[in-house]
Amino acid sequence: MMTRPLPHAAGPPSQAHPEPVIQLVSVVKTYGTGEAAVQALRGVSLEVAERDYVAIMGASGSGKSTMMNIIGCLDVPSEGQFLIDGIDTSALDEQQLAMVRNRKIGFVFQAFNLIPRMTALANVELPLSYAGLRGAERRYRAEAALHLVGLGHRLQAQPQQLSGGQQQRVAVARALVTAPSLILADEPTGNLDTRASADLMEVFDRLNVAGRTIVLITHEADVAAHAKRVIGVQDGHIVADRRVTAPGALPPYLGRPTVQP
């Protein structure tokens, strides 16, 4: 099914200035038409480098969910460009967008969004099925991803048999199993208690240390405190962009002397 090649990125990546994983160029998103038109994004430009760990913060209605939909290739900009790994998504059709989501992006949602009545293992195998992998390799990689998030002992559990924190870790395993360029998490701790939130953020920190690029969307300051870069969104504009540590450095929480990866 997945045989059509993705268009190649324009130009070879240079050593000195590594190509950004994602790039938004004057992105405008308008919902509705005419009098009823609402501008959710009013010209947003943003680049996220490889291995960066970015938190996008904003109140509800600020446009951060729209940004997340565009970064996740779930929606397309009305104006401007969105590039992932140098690929301009406006040139892609539905099938190619599905491939981009499958290969380049791992999603973690607030509501976990596991598929009910499927085991944890089957849920994690699902993106690999859509990528066309064979049964044995699917299983091997899915088990590895579940071990990585600390759920190696609950492979055959169904989502309803797992706690919220465990479900969200299954979702993280599903997001990283395809080795995507970007892990995109939309309010991942929104439905979790403090303890489970801390556990989950530790998983994200370790994934970032292991080289994953992460974009978190949140309105909680203590979640954003895990990121290396915090971006504030308000009324469809980027209003703040604070760099905490360099993209190549350790994430702030893991950088503390008491906690070592």
Binding site: L74, D75, I115, M118
Partner: protein, 408 residues
């Protein structure tokens, strides 16, 4: 994404709602089962009618006298009509002329009358008494169980002999062999020379409550020498029936100075009856099939309905699948497979149910399966899944992932 994987997802989708899947399947099951069963019932009744008719004798042709006589004994030209072709009697001379026609094996002139038979102790009323020639017996597929037929010699000498049908014989003599016994027909004594084997009823009248005597005797003693009721002509083979029918018509038209428009006789053969009966049976089968096809269509609409509900219910799941990389094609394939599986499982069970149903006799008809109806009904049920599942599956495939994920 392999077809096996798509198939697995579809099975899991159906298993998630077992009761709903079972009920939807039931709709198709009933549709397919009733197509097979009702067409088999139609076919069975058509075959039993054809068997009944061909047992009458495939090469026998009956020439019926239709107009121009109030009874066999009535005066031939009593009407004051000035019409060119006066209706005429059907006579023994007509029968002898027909015997000369090409392809004719035998000709038996027939007079018939309803009489009361009496053996002194018991009487049997309403017996159909036929006066004819010995050639009548083979033409009518009659066989003997006792005694013998009367002979041409006995016809020529107008002897009072009679062959009884099995019912008339048992009414009068019970289990006693009637051969050699005497019986009174309208007070005139006859000697029983034979008893016919049981033929069974044809329609409302019994073919066994009969008595057959020489033509001359019956005309002498009972009916007089008016018109014959009919003439039974036996063709040399059943393939010559059509030719002989034409011959009969032209010979009689010539002898009676008439045209097809004012003919005073009718020519009937088993094949004319057969073609009328089979066209009736065909209409019957088509009607039954149409009723069943409608129930299959209703089953198909049931599939659309349930798939629409399923797609709406699983909007969020569709959104998740799309977010993690399911292409529109894969989503379409999954839901189409679900719908087709539903209809094909229903179709397979319907074929089974239909075949089991045809093992029973239904309203007096033994159903006979039309082999073509099985692949046809099953194939249609599979197509119904594709066709009626197509709309909901397409709706699922074209959902925008961002909207589908927001769906509560």
């Amino acid at each position: 994404m392999s077809p096996v994987q798509v198939f697995r997802f579809a099975l899991a989708g159906l298993a998630a709602n077992k009761l709903r899947s079972a009920l939807t399947t039931l709709g198709i099951l009933i549709g397919v089962g009733s197509v097979i069963l009702l067409v088999a019932v139609g076919n069975g009744s058509s075959q039993s009618v054809q068997n009944a008719i061909s047992s009458l004798g495939a090469s026998a042709i009956t020439v019926l006298h239709t107009e121009g006589s109030a009874g066999p004994a009535a005066a031939p030209t009593s009407a004051a009509s000035t019409a060119f072709a006066e209706p005429q009697n059907l006579t023994v001379q007509d029968a002898q002329a027909l015997a000369q026609a090409q392809g004719v094996a035998s000709v038996s002139p027939v007079v018939s009358t309803s009489q009361t038979l009496d053996n002194g102790a018991t009487s049997d009323s309403g017996v159909s008494l036929t006066g004819t020639y010995p050639s009548y017996f083979p033409a009518e597929n009659d066989t003997l169980s006792e005694g013998s037929y009367f002979t041409t010699q006995e016809v020529n000498t107008a002897r009072n002999v009679v062959v009884l049908g099995s019912e008339a014989a048992s009414d009068l003599f019970g289990t006693v062999n009637p051969v050699g016994q005497s019986v009174l027909v309208a007070g005139i004594p006859f000697t029983v020379v034979g008893e016919l084997a049981t033929k069974g009823s044809s329609g409302l009248t019994s073919a066994d409550n009969t008595a057959i005597a020489p033509l001359t005797t019956v005309q002498d003693e009972l009916t007089g020498f008016g018109s014959l009721n009919d003439v039974v002509v036996l063709a040399k083979s059943s393939s010559q029936v059509d030719t002989v029918e034409g011959e009969i018509t032209s010979v009689l038209d010539l002898r009676h100075h008439e045209t097809a428009a004012d003919a005073d006789f009718d020519v009937l053969s088993a094949s004319t009856l057969l073609s009328t009966a089979s066209s009736t049976a065909h209409t019957f089968t088509v009607l039954l099939g149409a009723v069943a096809a409608i129930s299959l269509l209703v089953g198909g609409i049931g599939i659309t309905n349930i798939m629409l509900v399923t797609v709406t219910e699983r909007t969020r799941e569709i959104g998740i699948r799309k977010a993690i990389g399911a292409t529109p094609g894969v989503v379409l394939a999954q839901f189409l497979t679900e719908a087709t599986l539903l209809s094909m499982i229903g179709g397979a069970l319907g074929v089974l149910g239909g075949i089991i149903g045809t093992r029973f006799t239904i309203v007096g008809v033994k159903p006979v399966i039309v082999p073509l109806s099985i692949p046809l009904a099953f194939g249609v049920s599979a197509l119904i899944g594709l066709f009626f599942g197509g709309f909901p599956a397409n709706r699922a495939a074209n959902m925008r992932p961002a909207d589908a994920l927001r769906y509560e």
